[in-house]
Amino acid sequence: MAPSETVAAAVARMKEKNIGSLIVKEGESVVGILTERDLLVRVLAAGRPLSLPVAEVMTSGPFCLSPETTVGQAMSVVTDVRIRHLPVVEENRLVGMVSIRDLGDWLVANFQEERERLAMAARLRQGF
């Protein structure tokens, strides 16, 4: 999405694709991110119109990661700063996005795995 497009266009795209944020790019450079939070705070709560350009309501210069950032560091940013989406940028070029979106899914899957492992360990102990 370009910074000159309207908030209405951004809302339509987020609704259609069922996503919570959009990366705003000028050419190849990431210049901002537009999130549900930005829309709530800077449009809805501020009583501003949907005809505004995205540039006026996006979060400029968002927290970005490099591909070398560790998952631990990314996780700290997500849980401490309480942001849900982190663009991954290499040499000023957007190469991906890391999201907390499915963290819950993973934790659940992982917990089930952990539970199976514990159950297995308990069976082994009984065997001894």
Binding site: V11, V88, M97, L103, G104, V108
Partner: protein, 171 residues
């Protein structure tokens, strides 16, 4: 050994959960959420939990339908009868609920039906990671998540974590 929602609420400092009534306008609630830095608010009718209003509802049901926030009551745009947790629910069971119902907040309701709190996916994630100390599996670079170095839409941090975890276990 389960971490429960009750202990997550304790850790949050036991502050009284902010609620709104169903007849209040979206504009007032949005401004409250903006100034207080909250992402979701339980909506009450006659003192009972009737719904929840989230950033997602603001996007999908208010901005997405171009409704006038000063003329739209909460009751018209809230998510009705939200999925809830109890104080005794484990963090993992609550995350399962969030995952199944694709939501990021759960109102917490006591045995007597009274609202006692609200937990977010962030609260639960932090609680789970703290309880299980899974810091050691997160040392890998996020590059591995980006196929062929190309932009592929949303890349899931959690998949990298789980693949790291599996790798660590195998060795």
């Amino acid at each position: 050994m389960y971490v429960t929602i009750a202990s997550v609420l304790d850790e949050k400092g036991n502050e009284t959960v902010q609620t709104v009534d169903a007849d209040i306008t979206v504009a007032r609630v949005a401004s409250m959420m903006a100034t207080q830095g909250i992402g979701a608010v339980p909506v009450m009718v006659d003192g009972r939990l009737a719904g929840i209003f989230t950033e997602r509802d603001a996007l999908m049901r208010v901005l997405g339908r171009d409704l006038d926030p000063t003329a739209t009551p909460m009751g018209a745009v809230m998510t009705k009868d939200p999925v809830t947790a109890s104080p005794a629910t484990s963090v993992e069971a609550a995350l399962t609920l969030m995952s199944q119902h694709r939501c990021r907040h759960l109102p917490v309701v006591g045995a007597d039906g009274a609202l006692v709190g609200l937990v977010s996916v962030g609260d639960l994630t932090v609680a789970h990671l703290r309880a299980y100390q899974q810091v050691d599996v997160m040392a890998a670079g996020v590059r591995r998540l980006l196929p062929h170095g190309r932009f592929t839409g949303i890349v899931d941090l959690t998949r990298l974590v789980v693949s790291s975890l599996r790798r660590v276990r195998r060795t």
